[in-house]
Symmetry: D5
Subunit: 149 residues, 10 copies
Amino acid sequence: MISSREEVTRMILASKVRKGLQWREAAEVVGLSKEFVTAGCLGQMTFDKAQAEALGQLFELPDEAIAWLQIVPYKGSLPSAVPSDPLIYRWYEIVSVYGTTIKELIHEEFGDGIMSAIDFSMDIQRQADPKGDRVNVVLSGKFLPYKSY
Amino acid sequence: MISSREEVTRMILASKVRKGLQWREAAEVVGLSKEFVTAGCLGQMTFDKAQAEALGQLFELPDEAIAWLQIVPYKGSLPSAVPSDPLIYRWYEIVSVYGTTIKELIHEEFGDGIMSAIDFSMDIQRQADPKGDRVNVVLSGKFLPYKSY
Amino acid sequence: MISSREEVTRMILASKVRKGLQWREAAEVVGLSKEFVTAGCLGQMTFDKAQAEALGQLFELPDEAIAWLQIVPYKGSLPSAVPSDPLIYRWYEIVSVYGTTIKELIHEEFGDGIMSAIDFSMDIQRQADPKGDRVNVVLSGKFLPYKSY
Amino acid sequence: MISSREEVTRMILASKVRKGLQWREAAEVVGLSKEFVTAGCLGQMTFDKAQAEALGQLFELPDEAIAWLQIVPYKGSLPSAVPSDPLIYRWYEIVSVYGTTIKELIHEEFGDGIMSAIDFSMDIQRQADPKGDRVNVVLSGKFLPYKSY
Amino acid sequence: MISSREEVTRMILASKVRKGLQWREAAEVVGLSKEFVTAGCLGQMTFDKAQAEALGQLFELPDEAIAWLQIVPYKGSLPSAVPSDPLIYRWYEIVSVYGTTIKELIHEEFGDGIMSAIDFSMDIQRQADPKGDRVNVVLSGKFLPYKSY
Amino acid sequence: MISSREEVTRMILASKVRKGLQWREAAEVVGLSKEFVTAGCLGQMTFDKAQAEALGQLFELPDEAIAWLQIVPYKGSLPSAVPSDPLIYRWYEIVSVYGTTIKELIHEEFGDGIMSAIDFSMDIQRQADPKGDRVNVVLSGKFLPYKSY
Amino acid sequence: MISSREEVTRMILASKVRKGLQWREAAEVVGLSKEFVTAGCLGQMTFDKAQAEALGQLFELPDEAIAWLQIVPYKGSLPSAVPSDPLIYRWYEIVSVYGTTIKELIHEEFGDGIMSAIDFSMDIQRQADPKGDRVNVVLSGKFLPYKSY
Amino acid sequence: MISSREEVTRMILASKVRKGLQWREAAEVVGLSKEFVTAGCLGQMTFDKAQAEALGQLFELPDEAIAWLQIVPYKGSLPSAVPSDPLIYRWYEIVSVYGTTIKELIHEEFGDGIMSAIDFSMDIQRQADPKGDRVNVVLSGKFLPYKSY
Amino acid sequence: MISSREEVTRMILASKVRKGLQWREAAEVVGLSKEFVTAGCLGQMTFDKAQAEALGQLFELPDEAIAWLQIVPYKGSLPSAVPSDPLIYRWYEIVSVYGTTIKELIHEEFGDGIMSAIDFSMDIQRQADPKGDRVNVVLSGKFLPYKSY
Amino acid sequence: MISSREEVTRMILASKVRKGLQWREAAEVVGLSKEFVTAGCLGQMTFDKAQAEALGQLFELPDEAIAWLQIVPYKGSLPSAVPSDPLIYRWYEIVSVYGTTIKELIHEEFGDGIMSAIDFSMDIQRQADPKGDRVNVVLSGKFLPYKSY
């Protein structure tokens, strides 16, 4: 009996290590970006039936797990409010150090509102650089204005 | 007597509202990106003498404040570990929901290490879109590998 | 020198008590709903120039305060993550007790996504009831779907 | 041996996914609103014998689980004080941003007291809208006055 | 300018020490129980005009403070979630040690619901005892049932 | 192997539901108040040999569990510092709202010291009331004075 | 206007540094142990009129401060739940490392109950030792038994 | 497979209850104080081979557990930063109320430095008293001075 | 099925105790410093295939565990934000007491930037000393400057 | 009136910026290491009379501030348990990632005990490196063993 999406995430992670798979292979069998598919495999997004079955085949998941992949999960991937992992912490630090800056500049350009984290996409790429390659990330989120009523 | 950088930040904010200034005007007088200059005005970055004086003139700051702008500040712009402001929270949410995904994909591409938040730059732009304009943000950070020793 | 929106909120509260004003009077001079105007007066929303000036006249605010009312504030009105005030706590409790229920039912109806807190309005009314009058609140938020990419 | 209501919740969730059930089906067999029945299935409300047995049949629960459904549970459905799930967080944000506003307006209308979260009901509906369908939620809670003594 | 109820509480406390007053004297001039009046003076309850004026005279408060006493305050009298003061902590400990017991026994007697903290009164008395006098506290709160809907 | 009192509490809860028992039946077989016996069954108090054996018979516990009931437990029945359960939260709220009031009134009557939570008893009763029955709770704790030394 | 005991503590600390006083001098003028008097000066204990006046003379306090010294303070001397100061932290560490040991041994000797922190005294002495002098602290607290009822 | 010292602690506790042992018996077979041996059995101290084997025989532990008793454990015996158990809390309260007092008096006697919690011993004794027996605890810690460098 | 690196850490710890191994033996079979190899065995660093296999042989790990050792782990070795273990706490205390000092001195020497914790190595050695041997730790981290952009 | 060491720290910081001083100048006038003197100026260490007067002259402090520099301060230089400043966070991260490693290796070399943070010194130096200069920090702390008693 599988009673939570976390169990499915653990099954995928175990299978990925055991079979030596890559996230880009998962993205390929699903036919979507590596960002969306990895997030989904880690329990943050929902797949449709065909996508879930493709992942089920790749990771050799039981039917019950494939059913869970089609259920909207309780989101949030971090075990603590401030993440301890250095790679993820750097992102938290960007929000901490630049948070008020991002706020000021978006408001200066758009007025009161937010950058959506739902109507949102992310693209992570290697950027070659003679002084050391860089991680280049493009975040795109729809601006949603507060309106008076 | 000014005894902390926060006081200078408050002076700049008060002056900005009183005089109706824009962050891009601050960026222009300094001659750097709007992202860096805004972060600096909000107490997160350090300016050299000429830059500090240009800002001092723009915001009509006393000499003591101009001296403080050249001192490295204690960084971190948020009043709580989980930010309450909706715009900034969306960024926290991106880290929360996509954190493990970002980690997995950078490791898959680069191996063990981090994306630097120091050798780092950010560019925030409006992206026109018929379904509603978008906020487009490019983050660029050098990859720093863990090496065994 | 006013260096934060909180100071303006305190000025409004002090003036409201001193002059015996009502929030609905503020809503009237602004010409918007009592919910939006009260939220704005409490430092959560932004007013345009005419609205800010109307409020400035009502609450007898100095020009600098009127300028601050037109600046997007750092939002979040509660002094602690779990609110201690009994009236506000009941709302926190509704989120705590019914949170997963709301999530399940919205997903069942709409699929993966959220109910917007930005493209959002709220209406609070007294509902007469022989067993004791009730507070009737209508919350309306646009559904924003997660889309795969 | 079942020693907590959470185990029953997990059994219901597992069964729901395995059998492809909907919360509205659960509401129908019980004969109450989808809001109350879902909350009960998620471990927040108590059912009487007939209701519990109807749910037991629908979700194929053992007798011991049916007995637990009739026991008042320890309530609170969220794993952290500030919820990480984006849909539930938006509700937390409404309380955070509008909390003091709600307080002011209820007090202005009713005087000192609270809106009950016990003598309370909730109704969640889809509201068609050409600019994108909306989630419409009606909350109704009895006003309970503080009385001097 | 007084901009919060806490300032009024501080004025009352300062006046009480300076003039050597007792809470029971405050209760007498108001004509209500010592429990309600003390709570009100400490910023937790609301007074009507006559009551506020009687207190204003007793504590020699300015008119603005008397106006604030008639405004519903943001409640919660403790500076931290777990109180450090030994007397108040013992009450927190009673909730911590006996919390689940109280819950079980009220549910066994009344079914699902709560004991109201709003339709509530408290009476604190000295109980003479040869082995050492006791504090006797009677708490009375209306039972509010959860009802299915 | 039973290695903590919590396991015994879980065994008692499971047995109570399975056998449809009431806390007052437990109180009867032990011969003490329902408040003390329930607290003990929930892992907060210690029983002597005869009491533990009577409970063991009622709840059909193994000998090892009966031994554990005679061991002083690590106390505190709540899973979080601020309880999420509405019934228990109301008690936390009473401490939060009335905490400083209780402190002031006990000090006014007794001087510096505390109301004991150890030399303490509690009695919970239904109080019939035409406007809705009430929960009446009497708390009795010895006053313990701070003495100078 | 003095509106809290903390202000008096700050006045005493400032005066102590300015005049180069020692806590033992304060203990002498009061005629009590250095432990009790220091705790009282730091805002944790209450003095009677004669004691407060003696301290007022020593520290050159105004009458209002002397009145505050006779009022029971809100206790708890640490700015955070886990103290950052190394000397005080070592005491926190003793509780953390030895807490369960102290509990087991007191229960083994006395049965269920506590060691009182109210009917309590403390004596801190230098103990000469050729390998380095030691701090010797004797804590004495009345054992208070839980009794069944 | 035993993979943590906590498992050994649980085995010792289970065995102690099952066999009706006392901590002083454990102290006797080891030949050290009851304070040190109890702390070690509760996972806070390290035993040598002979001591671990003596405990292994007393508590009937497997060889693997005896090996773990000789490994330095991760220390800290409390499940939360502020302990909920009343007996242990009283010690936390002593640190909270008297923390700054202890600090002041040790500094007054010894200068800047700390009382060691490592070069430390504790002795807990019953002190007969006609007004109720007392717990007498002697803490002895080497003074360690901060030195300038 | 192994589904997390923590399980591998627990297997290594259990094996280390059972077989009486030393971390320096692990360092030897891997051919790297004891600091890096221990950190890796404790789930903080990543090994290549040959290194993982050497550790697998030493600790008698199954193939699946050897595969997990080559996967980048979620880092952070402490169970709480403020560590309770006295040895580790002393390091936290160094950061707490000397944190701002380290910051000031690095900035004075290098300007704005950080000392890398990624391009970093650590060396822990015993330093003989007649007054008691010392732990000597050399930390070496690349300075990474913030640059304006 | 100066009533806390923090005020003196703020005076020193203000003076340092206003006069353009360096920490090494402070170290020189005191005649101790830059690490100790900076820590002392930042409110973490205590100075003797001559040292305090030298600093008083350098920073142009009033006599009262010079007196405070000779008083042992309440230590801990960080405003939050997890520091937000990137430079200081990297040190927190070292403790978080390497904490258990440091613990294991010190215990393997020395047995149970700690590395002192009191009998401790620190030396921060620039280490030239063609790939980018490094920060080299040597920490030296006396090993203090736990002894059985």
